[in-house]
């Protein structure tokens, strides 16, 4: 089951459901959700569902209380998160700040951990438009797997979360070294 | 007492009973056997023997029973009678 817990917010009808980013659908306000959660949203029991970078904000309809609906919402949410691809989300205008936040969360989380387990590190340098620039260090520098880690996982995760064609590039991205890396990876493949 | 250690199974998916492991071996818990009495199964869960949890077999008593296991940061002993109720798979990536 997907780990999650709820904490209170300033609004008594709204709870912040903390879920690991890897399980979350794209960021934004939810139009449609699968299963029972969708049912609750459509019927107005849930007034609003907003997916953020590390949690889902759920606001109940007027007159509804978490005391009544808590267990129900939890079960429905857990169910719905099993298929994040089925959610229909109004993507937010993706500004640099949001992209940077999502990227740094991923680098602080699973992607960074993966790099660290191999003795290296990946750090965020900057974000421009749809491009995220990172710096690789330690054992990752020169490692042939860097491509699959960076471009493969990081890129696809970012694209999934943001819903835009995000690209990832490394800081020391001079043409000869890029070509050299591509040759090396071809040989080693 | 020397006992034949069970060899790691050829397919990593084969489950064996926790009771079959020897001290020094490690495994990941799959669950409890279906015919375990519910209170016993519930108690084992509560003590930390949950699916996808890592378990270390630490040592066995000189007389053969019980055995000390480390699970969820705690060292617990179980008799063979209870260890037979827990299904595990060997850790393949350790």
């Amino acid at each position: 089951m997907i780990p999650m817990h709820a904490t209170a917010t300033a609004d008594s009808r709204q709870l912040r459901w903390v879920v690991a980013p890897a399980h979350l659908p794209p960021v934004g306000t939810v139009r449609r959700a699968p299963g029972r959660l969708g049912g609750l949203l459509d019927s107005g029991m849930i007034e609003e569902l907003v997916v953020r970078t590390g949690d889902v904000l759920i606001t109940l309809g007027a007159g509804k209380s978490w005391h009544q609906l808590g267990d129900q919402v939890r079960d429905a949410l857990a169910d719905a998160l099993l298929t994040p691809g089925d959610w229909r989300v109004d993507a937010v205008s993706c500004d640099n700040a949001l992209l940077a936040q999502i990227a740094s969360e991923l680098l602080d989380g699973p992607i960074g951990a993966l790099a660290a387990s191999h003795g290296g590190s990946i750090q965020l340098v900057s974000v421009t438009g749809n491009n995220v620039t990172v710096r690789i260090a330690g054992a990752c520098n020169g490692c042939p797997a860097v491509d699959s880690t960076l471009h493969g996982r990081l890129e696809s995760e970012l694209r999934r979360r943001v819903g835009k064609p995000v690209t990832v590039s490394t800081e020391t991205n001079s043409l000869p070294s890029t070509l050299g890396k591509k040759l090396l990876s071809l040989i080693l493949r | 007492m020397l006992r034949q250690r069970p060899a790691a199974p050829k397919q990593s998916g084969a489950t064996i009973k926790l009771a079959q492991l020897a001290p020094g071996q490690q495994a990941t818990i799959v669950g409890t056997v279906p015919d375990a009495a519910p209170p016993v199964a519930g108690r084992l869960w509560q003590l930390g023997f949950r699916p996808a949890t890592h378990v270390d077999v630490i040592r066995r008593a000189p007389l053969g029973d019980p055995t000390i296991y480390r699970v969820q940061d705690t060292e617990l002993c179980l008799r063979r009678r209870e260890a037979r109720l827990i299904e595990v798979v060997f850790d393949t990536d350790r």
Partner: protein, 637 residues
């Protein structure tokens, strides 16, 4: 192990207004927190209708008195033992006359939080105001773990306080919060009840709290490599057992002698200075003689309890239970019953109280019924006296002291009898309910002097109270019965010694003794022995002081010689070998201790079990004494 022989008579009354309960797993440091909060002034008793002990104390916060109840340790609100059932029932309000508490303080060990977070979920789900007291935070850090207490509090939705129970830091903070439990933060929704969902919830919460699990405790690992080693471990175990017996016989001896000498001196001054000879006799022989025998054993008892408390606090007792489990399982019991039996070598009372650690109520009762057969310290003066009558001090058998060998055999006999008795009970009327045997082995922790001394003082208090009340009362009554009616006129012409003997032979005690003589006649006991037996129903030590009085009446200078040569009405030697052997076996098996009966009653919450224990042990004692006597006579002793 807290104070035994408590006046745990009536129910524990608790003010109806503000009540807080402490809930947590065993080994979480809950009792430490309780002691810090209530300052050791807790009242103990039993929960109604069950054999589970209850501890309630009070704490004063901002002028308001709040009752704090230390609930039994539990791993889950889905109970599998009577102790755990009490926690579940009390929190659900299922007890007729006990309201659920107003708030709960959850005590959890920070180093095992990944496991106990499920209990936290269950307790929060009850809907009462909760506060989490997190213990062993220092140990968590030392072992490479970490937790953000504030983030944990935000994720759980309840207040969280870090407490280092042994040192008492964080306790003031905790105490201050107890006054305002109505205003404690409550979670917006309750954690899930489904075990898998609760597990997922727990993982999420700990992740949000930046929880890093500690590494396994290296020091414990290294120590256990030796202590639980198939060869070295068994060696350590026997060394510990040996230490026990060394204390009983050797270490305490000089202290015992000191006490004995002191008492003799006092006794001498009193009888010497007392103008009124009856009063002098009363105080000198009755009180000081009777109580003195018990006081002589206080050093030994305290040292034994010190050792037991040390072993428990360090964490060795769990290892001993682990090593002995297979043996105990043969009798139908389990490893923890061994610890209870071991404590009974000092005194059955703390041994019986130690059965609280056994989850199975049938295991508990079987151990309670069998533990008194273990050779307790009170039997020692009796054995010493009787062995002295049987075997001359210098005798050697195969190079060893004959007296020593006999004593060893008696100890062995007691231990074996206890195990056989437990096995019999567990095979018949107390057959197992097949509870899973699971036992936590906590890391070795440095025994905090305060905790150890508290345990030791509790035991000493118990012993002094036994001396001060039961034995004092019995000694007074016995002395009175033995020395009245005074028959001043008839004895006027006799020497003081002869006069005392004359009075004693015709005293009220003699009447009673002669009346019950038929019961013990086949065992060879005369009326004086019978009186001593009746007197020692209260406590075994009284046997020695009573016989001492009787012997001193005949020959104050050499009581042993008096007993050796004492003859009954038919001219036969009273303490001939077969009779002494019969007496030894009688004392091995008989339940001659009111304190034990009282604590049995308290721990099993009924008179049925103490009555059964007394009955079966009396029959067993009589039969074994008769058998031994017959064998001794047959062998031509």
């Amino acid at each position: 192990m807290t104070s035994c022989h408590d006046s745990g008579g009536g129910p524990v009354a608790v003010a109806s207004t503000r009540r807080i309960a402490l809930v947590g797993s065993p080994n979480a440091g809950k009792t430490s927190v309780f002691n810090h909060l209530t300052g050791l002034r807790a009242k103990t008793g039993n929960y109604p209708g069950v054999t589970v002990g209850r501890s309630v104390g009070t704490v004063k916060v901002d002028g308001v008195t709040i009752a704090v109840e230390d609930l039994p340790g539990t791993y889950s609100l889905d109970a599998i033992s009577p102790d755990e059932q009490v926690v579940t029932d009390l929190l659900a309000g299922a007890f007729d006359h006990i309201e659920p508490p107003g708030a709960i303080v959850l005590v959890a060990d920070a180093t095992t939080l990944r496991r106990s977070i499920l209990l936290v979920a269950q307790v929060i789900r009850l809907g009462l105001p909760c506060l989490l007291a997190l213990t062993m935070g220092d140990e968590l850090t030392v072992r490479g773990g970490r937790v953000d207490v504030d983030a944990l509090s935000a994720a759980l939705g309840i207040p969280v306080t870090a407490v280092v129970a042994h040192r008492g830091s964080g306790i003031d903070d905790l105490r201050a919060q107890l006054g305002t439990f109505d205003r404690w933060q409550r979670p917006p929704i309750l954690p899930p009840s489904d075990p898998e969902a609760a597990d997922a919830w727990g993982k999420s919460v700990l992740d949000a709290a930046d929880y890093a699990a500690p590494r396994p405790d290296q020091r414990t690992n290294r120590i256990d490599q030796v202590v639980l080693h198939p060869v070295w471990g068994v060696g350590v175990f026997f060394a510990v057992m040996f230490a026990f017996f060394q204390i009983v016989f050797t270490v305490a001896a000089p202290l015992q002698d000191l006490v004995g000498q002191g008492l003799t001196w006092i006794g001498g001054r009193v009888t010497g200075h007392s103008g009124n000879s009856i009063l002098g006799g009363l105080i000198g022989d009755g009180i000081i003689g009777g109580v003195g025998t018990v006081l002589q054993f206080v050093p030994q008892i305290m040292l034994l309890f010190l050792l037991i408390a040390l072993l428990e606090n360090v964490g060795y007792m769990a290892r001993a239970a682990f090593l002995m489990d297979r043996v105990m399982a043969r009798t139908g019991l389990e490893g923890r019953a061994f610890v209870a039996m071991l404590s009974s070598f000092a005194c059955a009372v703390p041994g019986i109280m130690a059965t609280r650690t056994l989850p199975s109520s049938r295991d508990r009762i079987a151990t309670v019924l069998s533990a008194p057969l273990m050779t307790c310290s009170a039997r020692l003066p009796v054995y010493t006296l009787l062995i002295g009558l049987l075997v001359a001090p210098q005798t050697r058998w195969w190079g060893f002291s004959a007296q020593g060998i006999t004593m060893f055999l008696l100890y062995l006999g007691g231990g074996t009898a206890a195990l056989i008795s437990a096995w019999l009970f567990k095979s018949t009327i107390l057959r197992s309910d097949l509870l899973p045997f699971t036992m936590e082995l906590p890391p070795y922790r440095f025994p905090y002097p305060k905790a150890v001394l508290v345990a030791m003082w509790g035991a000493a208090k118990m012993f002094l109270r036994k001396a001060g009340t039961i034995i004092l009362a019995t000694s007074l009554v016995l002395w009175t019965l033995l020395n009245l009616p005074p028959r001043g006129a008839e004895t006027a012409h006799l020497s003081p010694t002869d006069a005392t003997a004359y009075v004693m032979d015709r005293s009220y005690a003699a009447d009673v003794g002669k009346a019950i003589e038929p019961v013990f006649e086949p065992l060879g006991f005369d009326w004086r022995t019978d009186i001593a037996l009746v007197g020692s129903l209260s406590a075994r030590e009284v046997f020695v002081s009573t016989l001492g009085q009787v012997a001193a009446a005949t020959d104050p200078a050499d009581p042993r010689e008096a007993l050796m040569t004492m003859t009954d009405d038919h001219g036969r030697r009273v303490f001939a070998a077969p009779t002494v052997v019969a007496l030894l076996l009688y004392f091995m098996f008989a339940l001659q201790c009111m304190s034990t009966v009282a604590v049995m009653r308290r721990e099993t919450n009924s008179w049925r079990w103490p009555a059964l224990a007394f009955g079966y042990m009396f029959v067993l004692a009589w039969v074994m004494a008769f058998a031994a006597r017959s064998i001794a006579i047959g062998l031509g002793a």
